[in-house]
C-alpha cells in the first residue's frame, strides 16, 4: 500500500481578475466551460479525506470567482479536512468572508504583489492593492490563521525590509516571502524578474534579522530562488509522495506545471476514483521512488532529500524530464542555468517589457 497524500490542492478555476507577471499557472489553461461542477468537486474532496489527506487547499486562478467556494469549504470541513483558501482577495466582501468562516475555513492566504500601491498594481496588471488592504482588515475580525504571501524578484527584492514591515503591519501570523519560481508565465518574464546574485545574497541577512526580531509574533517562510541554489528544491516534496493536485477540469496531477512534460496522460478525477489515481495511475508512478533516476542522482546521497529536484524544470531547461534538475551544482547541465543567471542588478533606466498573464478562453 502506498503512503497517502497529505494534501489535496484543488485548483477550482483558472479564471483570475489579476494578470500577474509571475503567475505559475500553465500557459495552456482550462476555460470556464471545462470546469467541474459543485457536485464533482465535493465528491473529490470527500474522497481525498477517505484517502488520507489532512489538508485541502482551495486555489486557482482566483477560487472566489466560483460562487460555490463556500460549499467547497463546507464539504472539506465536514469531511474532516483542514481548509485553506489561497486568494487574491478580489471578489471578497466582509459578508462573504464571514460566510466562508462560518462554513469552516481554517486558514486564509492572501497574496500581495508589493507593499506600495503603484508597483503592486503594475506586477498584478490590475488595480488590486487597495482591495487587498481592506480584506486584510476583515480577516483579523475572525479567529482563523492568516498568512500573507508576497512574491519577490529583481524589481522589489531590494526593498525586502519594507515588505516584511508591511506584512507585520497587516498583523499576519505568517509571511511567506517567495522568490519567483520559473514556470508558466514567470518563465516568459524571467529576464525582468530574476535578481542578480548580489541582490539575492543581500536578502539573506535581512530575513535572518527579521526572523529574530519577529520571533513569536510572525513566522517567516523564505522561498529561495533556486537558480542560485547549490542543490535543487524537493519539488512538491517529491513526485507523488505527499501532494495531489486536481486542475479546474478534473485532471489529476503531481504538480501544477506537470503539463509541460510530454507524454503524460493525466487521469480525470471526475471519472476515476482518487485512490486508483493515486495508487495505480502511470502518471503518479512515473517519477516515484528512485528507479527512474539517472546519474548523478542515482548514486547521490541527497536523492532521498531532494528527490532529484523538479521534473518540470528538468524538462524546461535540460530538455529531459528524467534528468537531474539542472539547478543542481552536480548536474551536467548546470551551465544552462548559469547562462540564465543575471550578472548585474537592475539599472536605473531598466524598464521591463512585461508579458501579462491572460485569462483562459471559455
Amino acid at each position: 500500500m502506498k503512503a497517502a497524500p497529505q494534501a489535496l490542492i484543488a485548483e477550482i478555476t483558472h479564471r483570475c481578475p489579476l494578470h500577474c507577471v509571475y503567475c505559475s499557472n500553465p500557459i495552456q489553461m482550462q476555460g470556464a466551460a471545462h470546469e467541474l461542477t459543485t457536485g464533482q468537486w465535493t465528491g473529490i474532496i470527500r474522497q481525498s479525506a477517505q484517502l488520507g489527506c489532512w489538508h485541502l487547499h482551495l486555489t486557482g486562478g482566483e477560487p472566489l470567482l466560483r460562487r460555490d467556494a463556500e460549499d467547497l469549504v463546507r464539504a472539506g470541513r465536514e469531511s474532516g479536512l483542514y481548509v485553506n483558501l489561497i486568494t487574491s482577495g478580489l471578489g471578497l466582501t466582509s459578508a462573504r468572508l464571514a460566510a466562508l468562516v462560518a462554513a469552516g475555513l481554517d486558514h486564509i492566504q492572501l497574496s500581495f504583489q508589493d507593499s506600495q500601491e503603484t508597483p503592486a498594481n503594475t506586477f498584478a496588471g490590475t488595480r488590486a492593492h487597495s482591495q487587498k488592504l481592506r480584506v486584510a482588515e476583515w480577516i483579523r475580525n475572525h479567529r482563523i490563521a492568516f498568512t500573507v504571501n508576497l512574491v519577490i524578484h529583481r524589481q522589489n527584492i531590494d526593498r525586502l525590509e519594507e515588505l516584511i514591515g508591511f506584512a507585520e503591519q497587516l498583523n499576519a501570523d505568517k509571511l511567506e516571502i517567495a522568490n519567483v519560481q520559473y514556470y508558466g508565465w514567470a518563465l516568459r518574464n524571467q529576464a525582468a524578474l530574476l535578481p542578480s546574485r548580489e541582490q539575492f545574497r543581500a536578502s539573506l541577512p535581512v530575513i535572518e534579522a527579521a526572523r529574530e526580531r519577529l520571533s513569536g509574533k510572525m513566522r517567516i517562510d523564505y522561498v529561495l530562488p533556486d537558480y542560485y541554489a547549490k542543490y535543487p528544491k524537493a519539488c512538491m516534496g517529491g513526485w507523488g509522495r505527499g501532494l495531489l493536485l486536481i486542475d479546474p477540469a478534473g485532471r489529476a496531477m503531481p504538480c501544477h506545471s506537470a503539463g509541460v512534460i510530454p507524454g503524460l496522460e493525466f487521469p480525470n478525477a471526475a471519472t476515476e476514483s482518487l485512490r486508483t489515481i493515486w495508487e495505480d495511475s502511470p502518471v503518479f508512478e512515473r517519477f516515484r521512488g528512485e528507479q527512474w533516476m539517472q546519474e548523478p542522482c542515482r548514486s547521490c546521497e541527497r536523492k532521498t532529500i531532494d528527490f532529484g529536484g523538479c521534473r518540470c524544470q528538468a524538462m524546461l531547461l535540460a530538455g529531459d524530464a528524467a534528468a537531474t534538475d539542472p539547478v543542481c551544482s552536480l548536474s551536467p547541465k548546470r551551465s544552462v542555468v548559469d547562462g540564465l543567471a543575471q550578472p548585474i542588478p537592475p539599472q536605473q533606466n531598466e524598464t521591463p517589457r512585461w508579458v501579462y498573464r491572460i485569462d483562459p478562453v471559455a
Binding site: W54, H55, Y82, D106, R143, F146, K174, G216
Partner: protein, 88 residues
Amino acid sequence: MTGLERRPLLKPGCRLSPAGDVLLIPEGVLRLQGPATRIVQSCDGSKTVAEIVATLLDQFPAADQARVSEETSAFLTKLAGRGAIEFV
C-alpha cells in the same frame, strides 16, 4: 513569571482533528500520542501549565511529578515553536 504560570492558548487556525489524534496547523499536522491530546485540549488560555500538569497527575497518579512537569513543558515549547500555541 515562570514557565509554569503561563497559560497556553491554541493559535487561530490550529485545532484538533475530529478524532483527536492529530493537531491540524496551517503548515501541516502534528501526530499526538498518549496524554498529548489531553494537553492540547487544555490549551484554552484559561489554565496555567502548572494546572495542566496537576490535572495530568490526577489522571496518572503513579507518574513522577517532576518528569510530567518537565515533559509537559517541553511539549508545549515544541508546540509554540511550530506556531501552534501562544502563551497568554
